[in-house]
């Protein structure tokens, strides 16, 4: 893992956030988790402990976007708090005001030595494989702006990984892209990027990751699994959550497949990335903790949760490949839906077994 030490202002119009900016990647996460992970590492935190502590099922019907970072927020509009509800992490979306210079917010954050996360269309980014080939909504960490030399500093942990300056002109094209939808780019295109960016606030008091913390997290897993309605989303929230929510999501997916509605199948791919990533991180965290603390029951619970992540692959890929022939994949989707349900139930059972040992 390479690192770089950032300098302070090197001209009057250039600001770069100081400190080590490190990549962090897992094969089942998306740019959503990887960008927050870089911000957390920069603050000296372990991304796996923070992003892997929480686990639930949540689906917001009618609000799936064709973006790699699509994620149903438990706390409306706050991706950071939704990803890490047991830690002092919070984020807020911004768009430049009409009257201000487009980069003003990013520059102001860099001046305050704060990392930001910007939405981009990979089609316009020279370091992305999709450059001038595929439109796809993506996130990168922004850690500096050099107006004098026309450069912006970005960090992207997703393969092939990049960290360094790119021309501001390229960034503006990616940041302001309409993310044009074409037939071959349909997975993550079609939603305008609209110069969105995230500010991320990290508090001082990160909890100690110990047995007591883990016990509370596992208890919360169990509570959220059995919960029909979210407690924190407000009375207007109509998210599908926990076991009832998962059944409802799967039943609806299957109904749409039988009815020939390929659009709903196509949405299972971007939506499913979030719960797949979350399960993979939660499972890895439990397995790591169980292994390090000679707690085999906890490690086994972790492996069961990871199996949920692995079951999401079958469902997501069957739905995505079958989006143009939805009735032809009904049987396979039914099979993967059954496997996924079974994996969730087995995981929740072992989480309880692990919880009582802590």
């Amino acid at each position: 893992m390479s690192t770089i030490a950032q300098g302070n202002h090197f001209t009057q119009r250039a600001w770069v956030v100081r400190g080590q900016l490190l990549f962090w990647y897992r094969d089942l996460i998306s740019c959503l988790q990887s960008t927050f992970a870089t911000v957390l590492r920069h603050a000296g935190q372990d991304p796996l402990e923070v992003l892997g502590a929480h686990w639930e099922f949540r689906f917001t019907p009618g609000k799936v976007h064709a973006e790699e970072f699509d994620y149903p927020c438990r706390f409306s509009g706050d991706l950071g708090r939704s990803l890490a509800p047991y830690h002092p992490v919070s984020s807020r979306w911004h768009r430049p005001a009409e009257a201000e210079a487009p980069l003003a917010g990013l520059i102001a954050a860099a001046q305050r030595q704060q990392l930001t996360i910007a939405a981009v269309d990979n089609f316009h980014l020279p370091f992305r494989p999709a450059f001038h080939d595929v439109h796809a909504a993506h996130l990168v960490v922004v850690y500096g702006v050099d107006e004098h030399r026309g450069l912006i500093y970005v960090c992207d942990s997703m393969p092939p990984q990049f960290r360094g300056p790119i021309p501001i002109a390229d960034f503006l094209n990616a940041w302001g892209s309409t993310n044009q939808r074409t037939e071959q780019d349909e997975v993550f295109s079609g939603t305008g990027i609209d110069r969105r960016w995230l500010s991320v606030e990290l508090g001082e008091a990160f909890p100690e990751f110990d047995a007591a913390f883990l016990r509370r997290a596992l208890a919360a897993d169990r509570q959220l699994w059995g919960m029909r309605a979210p407690q924190h989303g407000g009375p207007e929230c109509d998210d599908w959550t926990g076991a009832p929510g998962l059944w409802q999501f799967l039943d609806t997916l299957l109904e749409c497949s039988r009815g020939g509605d390929g659009a709903v199948l196509a949405q299972a791919y971007p939506f499913g990335w979030g719960p797949q990533a979350q399960a993979s991180l939660h499972g890895e965290l439990l397995r790591r903790w169980g292994s390090q603390h000679r707690a085999p029951v906890v490690a086994e619970a972790g492996a069961r949760v990871e199996a949920v992540a692995h079951a999401w692959t079958g469902l997501r890929m069957t739905a995505a490949h079958g989006r143009h022939t939805p009735t032809a994949v009904v049987a396979d989707l039914e099979r993967h839906a059954r496997i996924l349900r079974n994996c969730y139930e087995a995981a929740v059972e072992t989480l309880y077994e692990a919880e009582v040992t802590l």
Partner: protein, 214 residues
């Protein structure tokens, strides 16, 4: 020494006659020719990028950096025979295909495989006694940066990735050598691959039981 083994048609657990795959024996390994089951093209040449699609994004593996179709190769002392060249494709994208194998005792089923995202599923093993065992098949991702999550050996590696309209440097891809244990002391007659389109199988080899261990 290679010995061509005549294909035996086994009793079919489903009633219909299975498609029998030719097998080549090499030093206690039975390399099953999957060519007749090939249904996906995951390998493309730089001159015809759009002809391959290993994932929903249409990425494929560069033919220039892989052994040719039908080639026999060895990884971790296990020989594999790649799918032969055909219009049907270069791998079996798993959708519940039944693979008929020469009736015999085997310890391991070795697969040259990769997944579109890491995944777990099951292989159904059919035995001459009528027994059927479901065994886990776990396959890691072919994508750049993905580790051998399930402890596979890396079998093949390419320095580039093919996109539909360009060749992408710094995006290596990989295929894995994975194995599934045959735990039952019975003669295996066939395998049903998972119903899981994320899993691509490029070759399959059975490792026979050593005479002393029968």
């Amino acid at each position: 020494m290679r010995v061509e083994v005549p294909v035996e048609h086994q009793a079919n657990p489903n009633g219909a006659r299975p498609v029998a795959q030719p097998v080549t024996m090499v030093h206690g390994f039975a390399m099953v020719d999957l060519s007749s089951l090939a249904d996906n093209r995951a390998i493309s040449s730089a001159a015809a990028l759009g002809t391959g699609a290993m994932n929903v994004w249409g990425n494929s593996l560069p033919a220039e950096d892989l052994p040719g179709p039908g080639t026999t190769l060895s990884r971790e002392l296990v020989p594999f025979q790649l799918v032969a060249a055909s219009a049907a494709g270069d791998n079996v994208r798993c959708s519940g295909q039944y693979v008929s194998v020469p009736c015999g005792r085997y310890d391991w089923v070795h697969l040259l495989a990769a997944a579109e995202r890491r995944t777990e599923d099951t292989v159904a093993m059919h035995f001459v006694s009528g027994a059927v065992d479901f065994e886990a098949l776990r396959v890691s991702d072919f994508w750049t940066g993905a580790p051998a999550w399930f402890g596979e050996a890396q079998a093949l590696h390419t320095p580039f990735m093919h996109y539909r309209r360009h060749v992408q440097p710094q995006m290596p891809a990989q295929l894995w050598s994975q194995r599934v244990a045959v735990t039952r002391r019975d003669d295996l007659i066939g395998l049903r691959l998972p119903h899981n389109v994320a899993i691509h199988v490029f070759a399959l080899t059975l490792q026979t039981v050593h005479e002393e261990h029968r």
